[in-house]
Point group: C2
Chain length 244, copies 2
């Protein structure tokens, strides 16, 4: 029996999604709960990892088990063991062709940045930038990322492998001094969203131009553009699967 | 020289505003900073205390010092020493007739309650109630508190003294499952807002009627109505002073 779960979590006090010995992780907390519920060791598979301090609004994972329960019972059982910063929003029983990572066709990340006065209530939930940014310049520059590209210049140093991804949408909005970046694509490499947002912040602060940013992208990894925006502003917002 | 400061803080990890030995308090953090800046012991006076876990959006305090600095320098100096959960929003030099507590003519508190799905991002910032409430019934019942009353039935057990207060406005709004209570009055006793909101929640859950709530109020302390709403939903929102 394959169980698909949608979960949201505040990543502040986690060392990321992936299980690690002696560190608090989202996978670790959930697997500990499943062991209690199923009385067996269960490994969960997420749509992708999130790094330390990164949040999720709709992360998806699945696991296989012998235990049969209705979805609402799974939800209640797992949430019973969850700490206050993780909550299972939805549970579905799926067939074995479904895989949280391989079946995903689209992912949306959002990034929040505060250009207004420091806000203690959002200390861990947005990047407290504290200066104004040229939103129009960022919006114009963001279009260079649209479509299929080799994003090697915006990926982590030691990432080789396939860095070709397609970005379907990139939107930049502002409300009360909070800037929201929405990125929708077929997938993102590690730190890729943070490097894209980091590069756009440089444009918004008039430190580099749109053309310079495009040079980085076109160099396909020869010239890295690794202004990495802080993790606390990043949210895995949505994972989309093909309707069957 | 009298300095007036407006401060916001996330009260989650504080034992309240008032200084206490060996506990983390807002007053303690600010006085520690002022000692560094002024090289003398300074006592700050707030518009009122807030309890453990209670937040403030615009708390006001003042202090007297020999040190002369421009307001923006005071703000920068104090914020330099502030932890991430406190931020000084505004500083003014005022004359000696001003007093944060005695000069206040109006105070606004807000209370937030989540009737929708548990939200891990708001674990400490709203009361996670998790059930729907009859907002119309609460709105109707809330009118009994308007005007001048002896609020003894909605004050802490061992509070005698003057429990007569005037409530100017009480508003209940709902947005995406978050219910917001706004209370504006000439002053509030300890736990008074939490008891009023707690009583209204009972009405909204159809556990007590508007008439029953009015009986409590009219009994002037003979019959206490002490359903105390949790601290994490409460915000000292604004303190108003007479324009001079």
């Amino acid at each position: 029996m394959r169980v698909k779960c949608t979960v949201w979590y505040d990543g502040t006090y986690f060392y990321g999604f992936q299980i690690q010995n002696h560190e608090r992780t989202i996978q670790g907390e959930i697997q500990k709960a499943l062991k209690q519920i199923c009385q067996e060791d269960i490994i969960i598979h997420a749509s992708g990892r999130t790094d330390a301090k990164v949040h999720a609004v709709n992360q998806v994972f699945h696991f296989d088990t012998q235990k049969e329960m209705e979805p609402w019972r799974w939800q209640r059982a797992i949430n019973h063991f969850m700490p206050e910063d993780i909550y299972i929003k939805h549970v579905e029983i799926v067939d074995e062709t479904f895989h949280s990572r391989y079946s995903a066709v689209k992912k949306e990340y959002r990034y929040y940045l505060n250009t207004a006065m420091y806000n203690p209530f959002l200390a861990h939930q947005v990047y407290q930038y504290g200066h104004s940014l040229d939103i129009l310049a960022m919006q114009e520059a963001s279009t260079i990322f649209l479509g299929k590209h080799n994003f090697a210049s915006f990926c982590w140093y030691d990432q080789y492998g396939n860095t070709i991804r397609t970005l379907f949408e990139i939107t930049i909005l502002e409300h009360d001094g909070i800037i929201e970046f929405r990125l929708i694509g077929d997938g993102f490499r590690r730190y890729m969203v943070r490097h894209i947002v980091g590069g756009l912040i440089q444009v918004g602060a008039h430190r580099i131009s749109k053309n310079k940013l495009k040079e980085f992208l076109d160099s396909e990894g020869q010239k890295k553009c690794l202004y990495k925006a802080k993790p606390q502003g990043l949210y895995l917002y949505e994972v989309t699967y093909d309707e069957k």
